[in-house]
Symmetry: C2
DNA sequence: CTTGTAGTTGACCAACTTGGTCAACAATAC
DNA sequence: GTATTGTTGACCAAGTTGGTCAACTACAAG
């Protein structure tokens, strides 16, 4: 049970784009610097996100990346599905015959219950939600420093 | 987001032990045959489960494995923690300084929310629960065959 | 039309995890 | 002492993760 760092990176990148939504395009180099994500790696992630329609990228000078939709319409679930690889919760998801020997494996429903619970949380949290959370967290840090 | 097959194997093994609780010890070879788990692999899993106090194993002829506790007291969460490796949901669990740069990463709480939800489901399901579920599933299969 | 900028693509990489095997070893019942 | 059964360590192939690099392509400005 593990959240790949790619997903966290991706979310941070989208959050960065949401914060700079007034700019027509944000360069990956800037995101990389601000979010402390290795740039070449970040580029791949942005590419994947673009292919999945979460960001719009434009090349050349003045180029960069921008959110393709309203931050409230982009959920963590989408990011996970985009970047998290197409792994399934357990090997026998769509290959039920491999585990379903003789009398059926009683665990299957539990594993998918788990999957559903995770998806519910992830699909219930948008980039917009996360942005206000992040700002609140930052405010806390600042006030603690005083 | 993935449930390693080890865990499923382990649960199936424990389920098998629970079903044969009247026998003083069940040989891993029998479990292997009944549950279709490669024996050498199963042996390792049983060893781990034994080290974590979930089964009791005895060597020699008449030896084998048995549940170390009441099936109702053994949860899927325990099996997961025992066999699932000590992976954490995201790298920066107990290394918050690595991600907590400048102002804190707002996602951290979401990831642990997810982790908690999973743990709640897993800790809320015991081998005993699963045994009745499995029997019900088997009854369904049998009735469907008639 | 050249030049610089910035995203895209493919090849490649080390480290780690997963699922699994095998042979040798240790305990124990008969 | 012998057969049986769990224990332990070494080893393995395949896949995933996190990451790099060089080449390529699109485009804006001059
Ligand atoms: S073997 Fe497929 S879920 Fe149990
Ligand atoms: S970087 Fe650690 S949770 Fe975001």
């Amino acid at each position: 049970m593990h959240i790949p760092i790619k997903v966290d990176y991706g979310v941070r990148a989208l959050l960065d784009l949401a914060e700079h939504a007034q700019e027509p395009a944000v360069r990956s180099a800037d995101i990389s610097l601000r979010q402390h994500i290795p740039q070449s790696f970040l580029d791949r992630l942005l590419l994947t996100l673009a292919k999945d329609g979460l960001v719009r990228s434009v090349r050349g000078p003045l180029g960069g990346h921008a959110l393709a939709r309203d931050p409230a319409q982009v959920t963590l679930g989408m990011v996970m599905r985009s970047l998290g690889g197409n792994e399934t919760i357990v090997g026998c998801l769509e290959a039920p015959e491999s585990c379903n020997h003789l009398a059926g494996c009683g665990q299957r429903e539990i594993w998918s219950e788990v999957e559903d619970a995770v998806q519910r949380i992830l699909d219930g949290t948008s980039i917009a939600d996360l942005l206000v959370r992040t700002k609140a967290a930052r405010a806390l840090v600042v006030s603690a420093a005083n």
